[in-house]
Structures are given as structure tokens and as C-alpha cells.
Amino acid sequence: MDIFLQQIINGLVLGSIYALVALGYTMVYGILGLINFAHGDLVMVGALVALTILQSLFGSTLPVSLAITCATLAAMLVCMTLGVTIERVAYRPLRRAPRLAPLITAIGVSILLQYSAALVWSKQYISLPEILRPAQFTVGGASFTDLQAFIFLLACALMGALLWFIKHTRLGKAMRATEQNPNVAGLMGIDINRIVAFTFLLGSALGAVAGVMVVLYYGLGHYYMGFMLGLKAFTAAVLGGIGKVHGAMLGGLLLGLIESLASGYIGDLTGGVLGSNYRDVFAFLVLVVVLVFRPSGLVGESASERA
């Protein structure tokens, strides 16, 4: 039982990171109907920026919490600038183009980001100096660190804040209006371009935080780390129901749990035929099954085609 609990904890932490990244996919999809494949790589840029700053601050007299805050803020700043620039340069000119065009552009931007990062940071794994020595806690036989708790709680807080923001502020209302029908929203005096840019800004900021979390949690980063993370987060968004903010949260946490439990128990369940290296297969299998029975995701309603 304690092992089961431990797997749940592992899954929740992993899942909360997925969820934060998934929000970036789902918000952009909700408003533009675009799958922004560059989002995973944006997270990578945020992670590497934070890593660089933490490395340079390592050994200075700055307290650790302040150093991490600095790194997070810098990562957010870089990601937000980058996110908005990408939207302005790569996606906005294609807003009225057939759907395939911006999708391919997104893949192009993703590759551009990866190889630019490879130029800046080299293709090697970059490791984080040991700035954190997480304290351990044990509950019911399962141990977790304060860092894990922090990641999970911060992710939950950010998601809660986002839900509140979308529901209760003027800007959030404008976002929802744009999501429902951009043309009508435009007629009502909402500056669509501003809303879209703001959506990218918000998604990028959350992505940057997720990037910092990955760096702190695993202690390393490299130019290619955004690819798999992005793919998983995208899966999470689809699993929950892409375009739905609370769907992304649910999907992310669920995917983390599935992965963790799959790699923990798949070997025993299949009598050792399938090892834990099949956990990704299992995660995608769940996605396929969910989509067969609920094509619009777990919380998605059968969406009518948007204009």
C-alpha cells in the first residue's frame, strides 16, 4: 500500500508539470484552433534560461529561494517575449490561412527553437549545481520531498488562479468571448489581436514555470527536452478535452498518474512480458481508448465546428 501511495505521489508531481504545459496548448487551441507545437520547446527555453541563471548564481551569497525566484522571473520574461514574438511573426500572418499552414509553421518554429537552443547551450546535457537539498517527509510509508510538495502545490495554485482569472476578470471574459466566436467578439469591441497575444503571454509564462520545475526536479536540461514533454502535455490536453482549461488540468494529472502506475505495475500485470519501458505506450493507449469513446476528451462536450 505504501508503494501504491508512493506511485500516486510520483504521478501527481509529474502530472502537475504536464498540466501546466498542457494549459499552454489548450488555451491557444481554444482561441485560435491552432496546435502550437512550439510550446514544448518554449518550455525548454525557459528551463535552460533558468538553468543558466542558477548556474551563474551558484556560489554567490544570494539565498537559494531568491536565486530560484530570479531564475523563474527571467525564464518567464524570456518565454513571454518569445511566445508573443512567435505569435506575431509566425502565426498572426497566417490567421486566415487554411488550418494546415499554421500547423506546419508551428512545427517549423519548434525545430527553429530546438536548434537555436543547441547553438546557444550546446547539445550536451546541462546539469544543475546542487543548490537544493530537499528535505524528506514520510507519510504512511511513502516519502516525498518538500520540493515535490512545492511543485504540486504551486501548480495547483497557478491553475486555480488561472481558472479564477478566466472566470472573474474582464480580460478573462474577453478571452472566453473570443473563444466562443472571434468575429462576434470583435464586433463587440474586443481587440482580438490583443487577446490572442495575451493568451500566448499567459501560456508562455505558465510554460516557463513548468520549465523551472523540471530543472529543479530532475536537475538537468538539454536542447531536446521540450519535444517529449511537449508531446506528453499535448496528449494530456487532448485527453482532458483540448480547448478546455480544466480539461488540461485533469488530463495532465491523469496522464502523470497513468504513467507512474503503468511503469510501477505493468511488469507484474503482464508477468514480466512488458517492462516499465512500455509506460509511454500505455499512456498513449489510454489516450486512444478515451478518444474512441469520448472523441472530444474527458470534459469536452461534442463541440460544434467553430467558424
Binding site: 510520483n10 507512474s260 514480466g272
Partner: protein, 422 residues
């Protein structure tokens, strides 16, 4: 449409002509060049290793070792059969990818290299070896330890490290006798190297009466091992063995201590790097053990001098296999000297007859191309550094403690048991 088509065809023709023109121009070029400095012939040596990606530091290390050897040989002046020879290095990046490895192998063959040092990964060396064998080019891997590499019946494959049929049992025996491990968990990275090493280790400890509580697999791209480690934690092992490379081993050890797993951690040569300690963090890495074919760097006959020269030239520490890469080049050079030829077909038989005292010690090959009596060293992390624990020489005289002499005896049944299991 028609006009466009004819235009395109025209362009195609033009470019084809242009390309032909270029290639026609090329062949005469080397001839006058070779005549101008009359006595110097360029002989190309290939090196293939992962120069980008998570294992880039190890691949670059090999390349640097080979580079150093080529420079040394050129500086000393090389004359074969009355002709002055200048060695030239051709480096290719196989990205630790089996498919890419075969491609770059073909590229090296097309570049007319006479010999190849590489590849790093067993998973890359094995597919590439077919290409070299077909072209009749000798290949020395400085590091690939999977037994299969030399067991394919190719005359061109050699290696200057002990293979996993030797390394796995040494690790297994060490775990049983020195660590007194009874309940062992084994993880591999599902590559030819990692799985091969883990298999031989597992066979040895099982034969020795220890229980293998869990056998888990991850991949060579993963960084999250919490779930597997949690599962292993439930089995309460006293030792965890990992067959894989440092980008996985580092985070794995770190996550182990985060999960509060107290078991000892041990692995193979792929994680015996400074980078492993950096990735794991000093505190978590402390006490981790790894076996590594070859003598400790400072105990190698030419070690101290080599390390100094290497540091002077590249301003970085030797990661792992630079000395093996260095020696591999000289094995080729010596073979060429004996054969009085730089033609691979002529000097290949001489490579097999190598009896050379290199930086890493005496080098001679058995009939399969494996290093004879390759020593294996077990290292441990102490105070943030890899330190030598003991040296085991299979088949030869034990260098450290007589207690280890039976190691090769234990290796034989393990070897026999392994294919049966498959």
C-alpha cells in the same frame, strides 16, 4: 505546365552537367598535389562516435584521444614502405543511433578511410561493423563491450576493452563476494550495451545464489525513474545494478536518494565518468560503484604521461575512452608498418597479430578480435571523485588481491548459462 516542365528538365540537366563537371574536375586535383610534395601521402583514419546528444562528452573524448594519436604519429614522422605518410582524421557523428551509425560508416567507407576507430555504443558498433566488414576496413572499438560485436564472424572487428561476458561476471562476483548482496534489483536502458551488461550480471548473481528481486527497463532518453525506483523500493533490495550510461545513471541515483532508498548502487563502464557525479550530485553519488574495463587511468603503463599530454592539448580531463582511442590508432599504425602497406586488405591480417604495449597496457587480440586478458577495475565514488577499489584481470595474474583469481572461472558458466536463458 509544359513550359514549366521543360524548364525544370533543363535545370536538372544543367545542374547534372554542373555536378559532373565538378566531379570530373576533382580527380586530377590530388594527383598534382601529391606530386608537389613528392614523398607525402595522405592516409585517412576514421573515427565515429556520438559527438552530439547526451553522450557527446564521451564521444568527443574518444575523438580527442584519436586526434592526439594522429598528431603524435605525424609529429614523429611516419614512413611506410619508403613513402612518407601523413595521417588525417575523419570524424563522423553517429549520435549514438544504430541507424545513423550504419550511415556514417558508409560515409567513412566512401571517404576512403583505411581504418576506423569506433563506435562508442555497442548498439552503434554492431550495425556499423557490417559496413566496414563489407568494405574490408578494420575497425577497433575503443569502448563497445557487448559480446555480440565480435561474434558476428567478421574479420575486421576488434576492440581494446574487455567485453561484457567478462565485465558483467566481474561486477556480479564483486557484488556477491565483496558487497555480500543477497537481494538485487537490476535495471537496464534497453540498449545493446545496457541490456547485455545487465543480463550477464544477472546471470552471474543468480548462479551465485543471490535473488534478483526486480528486473526493470528504462530507455536511454529518459530522465524520470521515480516509478521504477518506487517499485524497486517495495522489494527492499540491498543492491541496485544499472546497465546504462551516465545521463540516466546520474538522475537515477539522485532520485533514489530522494525516495529514501538505502540500497547500494552499482553499474558498468558507461557511468564511470565525472559527469555522472555532476548529474547525481556529490551527496547522492557517494558510495556508488562501477566496473570499467581497463586499468585505472593512473595505473595504465603510459597513463600519467598520457593524461598530462591530453590535458595540455585539449584543456580538459579524460572522460573515459580517450586512451583506448589513442592506442587503437597506434595498433593500426604498427600493423601498417609490419605489412609495409597502407592498403587495408594488406595490413588487416597484421592487426589481428597485434602485440603492442600501449597506454592502456599490452594489447593483443584473440581469434574473435577481443582483447586478451583485458583487466577490469571496480571504482567507487569517494568525496565527489571516482577512486579505484580493485583491479581484476580475467585469465591473467590478479593484480590486486589473490581472492579475485577465480573470476574467470565464474565467468565461464555464466557465459554458458546466458544463451540458454534466451
Amino acid at each position: 505546365m509544359n513550359r514549366l516542365q521543360s524548364f525544370a528538365t533543363g535545370m536538372l540537366f544543367a545542374s547534372a552537367l554542373l555536378m559532373q563537371g565538378c566531379s570530373k574536375e576533382e580527380p586530377p586535383k590530388p594527383a598534382p598535389k601529391a606530386e608537389a610534395p613528392p614523398a607525402e601521402t595522405i592516409v585517412k583514419i576514421g573515427v565515429a562516435a556520438p559527438l552530439t546528444g547526451p553522450q557527446a562528452h564521451i564521444g568527443t573524448d574518444i575523438k580527442n584521444g584519436v586526434q592526439l594519436a594522429v598528431d603524435d604519429a605525424n609529429a614523429a614522422g611516419l614512413t611506410i614502405d619508403g613513402k612518407k605518410i601523413k595521417l588525417q582524421l575523419v570524424a563522423e557523428d553517429d549520435e549514438a543511433n544504430p541507424t545513423k551509425a550504419a550511415t556514417v560508416a558508409q560515409k567513412l567507407v566512401d571517404a576512403k578511410v583505411v581504418a576506423v576507430v569506433g563506435h562508442f555504443n555497442s548498439g552503434a558498433s554492431i550495425p556499423a561493423s557490417k559496413v566496414y566488414s563489407d568494405a574490408g576496413i578494420p575497425q577497433i572499438s575503443p569502448s563497445s563491450t557487448n559480446p555480440k560485436y565480435t561474434q558476428q564472424g567478421f574479420k575486421t572487428t576488434f576492440r581494446v576493452v574487455a567485453n561484457d561476458d567478462q565485465q558483467g561476471p566481474v561486477g556480479g562476483k564483486f557484488a556477491l563476494e565483496k558487497l555480500k548482496a543477497k537481494n538485487i534489483a537490476v535495471i537496464d536502458d534497453a540498449t545493446a550495451y545496457g541490456q547485455g551488461l545487465a543480463d550477464t550480471f544477472e546471470a552471474t548473481v543468480k548462479a551465485g545464489g543471490a535473488k534478483v528481486a526486480a528486473r526493470e527497463h528504462t530507455t536511454d532518453k529518459d530522465t524520470d525513474f521515480k516509478a521504477i525506483l518506487t517499485k524497486i523500493k517495495g522489494k527492499k533490495p540491498d543492491l541496485i545494478f544499472f546497465g546504462g550510461i551516465d545521463p540516466q545513471a546520474g538522475p537515477m541515483v539522485k532520485q533514489m536518494s530522494e525516495l529514501g532508498i538505502k540500497a547500494k548502487f552499482m553499474g558498468g563502464d558507461g557511468m564511470q565518468t565525472p559527469n555522472f557525479i555532476k548529474l547525481a550530485g556529490d551527496a547522492s553519488a557517494e558510495g556508488t560503484m562501477a566496473s570499467m574495463p581497463g586499468l585505472p587511468k593512473d595505473q595504465m603503463p603510459g597513463g600519467a604521461k598520457f593524461l598530462e599530454k591530453f590535458k595540455g592539448k585539449f584543456n580538459t580531463e579524460v572522460e573515459l575512452f580517450a586512451p583506448m582511442g589513442y592506442d587503437a590508432v597506434f595498433v593500426f599504425v604498427e600493423a601498417m608498418k609490419r605489412a609495409k602497406s597502407t592498403d587495408p586488405a594488406k595490413f588487416l591480417p597484421e592487426v589481428a597479430k597485434t602485440d603492442y604495449k600501449g597506454v592502456i597496457g599490452p594489447i593483443a587480440f584473440d581469434d574473435k578480435g577481443d582483447l586478451k586478458n583485458g583487466p577490469i577495475t571496480v571504482y567507487v565514488v569517494k568525496g565527489g571523485k571516482w577512486e579505484t577499489m580493485e583491479v581484476v584481470t580475467p585469465g591473467g595474474a590478479p593484480e590486486a588481491k589473490p581472492a579475485d583469481a577465480p573470476a574467470p572461472a565464474a565467468a565461464e558458466p555464466a557465459k554458458a548459462a546466458e544463451p540458454a536463458k534466451k
